[in-house]
């Protein structure tokens, strides 16, 4: 295919997809498939991932892939599991990969059912914190004070006024064996978590912070830099939960103030130009600090039994 005869042989998610320049989500998916290997069937609800991988006749997926409605990803995944079981195809597993809009909001009822039944699905949310495929409307995953197209910042508006829904905790409360968060900033860690999740049976969940240059508003070469700052500020805590307990956390190497994260992105620009901005930044800093405290992200506050990971 390529004029230089370079090979995409090693890839299960190949070149030629139509994600924006530097899209964190496409990078996450490439690494998810490296970790799962080829014996998976991928289920993807409507969103950026579906759109940039499905122009008719041009698929980057080298594994069987199905797209369906925005709201029914988990139910479709359950159906695929049932079909595989009926056909006695034991070596194939099901992975659902959905955006935060479908996962946190519109497909949440379907997801809760899948978790409660304990269906053998690894559900991965590629979280870019808003409904990007339709232009960046707010979701319950959007961070507080981010400007979105449904609550744009302006003279009388500070953007979204509610904080991000704590979905990993809600999911763990369903009694599932494995819940984890990951980030495109740490791709080996991401792969490790996907591999670990594949070692379990039943419903499992991974939430990946998927930085989005186009809508968050940062240059396309900063995709990993912004994601790293999210983690190093405490805004994006990385942890694993097994049977409802936090068992591992990724420590913050050098804590940075949340400003160092917020100022990289246009979606937070207004809190720096607004005279009252200090207060908003303090609110966000308090949220980051409470994550650090809760998960023991700094070495000195680590809970005794949580294993340290670098």
């Amino acid at each position: 295919m390529s004029t230089q005869n370079l090979s995409n042989d090693q890839e299960l998610f190949v070149s030629g997809h139509r994600a924006c320049h530097g899209c964190g989500m496409s990078l996450a998916v490439r690494h998810i498939l490296k970790a799962t290997g080829k014996d998976v069937i991928v289920v993807t609800p409507t969103g950026c991932l579906e759109t940039f991988t499905s122009p008719y006749g041009y698929s980057p997926w080298r594994v069987p892939w199905i797209h369906h409605l925005f709201e029914n990803g988990p139910a479709i995944a359950t159906g695929v599991v049932a079909a595989l079981k009926a056909q006695k195809r034991e070596s194939e597993r099901v992975v659902a990969i959905g955006g935060d809009g479908s996962t946190f909001d519109i497909g949440f009822g379907s997801l809760s059912g899948m978790l409660e039944r304990g269906d053998d699905v690894l559900y991965i949310c590629v979280d870019n914190g808003a409904y990007m495929n339709t232009g960046g409307q707010r979701s319950s995953a959007s961070p507080i004070y981010s400007s979105t197209t449904t609550d744009p910042a302006g003279k009388r508006s500070l953007g979204k006024l509610q904080k991000k829904k704590d979905l990993p905790t809600i999911i763990a409360a369903h009694g599932v064996p494995y819940v984890a968060t990951a980030s495109v900033a740490y791709l080996k860690d991401l792969q490790k978590k996907v591999k670990k999740a594949m070692g379990y049976h039943g419903a499992r969940y991974i939430q990946i912070d998927s930085t989005c240059p186009s809508v968050w508003g940062f240059p396309s070469d900063q995709t990993l830099e912004v994601a790293r700052r999210g983690v190093q500020s405490g805004m994006v805590p990385l942890f694993e939960m097994e049977d409802g307990e936090v068992t591992k956390v990724r420590k913050i190497k050098k804590k940075i103030p949340v400003e160092e994260y917020l100022k990289t992105q246009k979606r937070f620009k207004h809190i720096f130009s607004d005279a009252d901005g200090r207060e908003e930044i303090q609110t966000i800093q308090a949220l980051a600090d409470s994550n650090i405290e809760r998960y023991g992200l700094l070495k000195k506050t680590a809970p005794q039994d949580a294993e340290v990971q670098d």
Partner: protein, 85 residues
């Protein structure tokens, strides 16, 4: 394009779509400075950096010019230059 029954599309067919035409900056990889760490291969969202023997090669058919490989390269071996069309 002919539509098959069930609209089934073969995997990997996106290779028929050259996203390299989207590029307005071109990453140039200098093998003299390269430490062969593999970071650029790992971070490319478009799977456009390849290793051939000991050489790292950027596939300009698909590289969109996002600049991530250059930003992340620990040896500063990749520089971005304006694309000449």
């Amino acid at each position: 394009m002919e539509i098959t029954i069930g609209a089934v599309v073969q995997g990997g067919t996106s290779l028929g779509y050259k996203t390299g035409t989207w590029r307005d900056e071109r990453p140039i990889l200098d093998m003299e400075q390269c430490k062969a760490c593999g970071v650029c291969v790992s971070v490319c969202p478009d799977s456009a950096v390849h290793v051939k023997g000991e050489t790292y090669i950027i596939d300009y058919d698909y590289c969109k010019g996002c600049g991530l490989c250059g930003y992340e390269c620990p040896a500063d071996a990749i520089s971005m230059v304006k694309e000449e069309k």
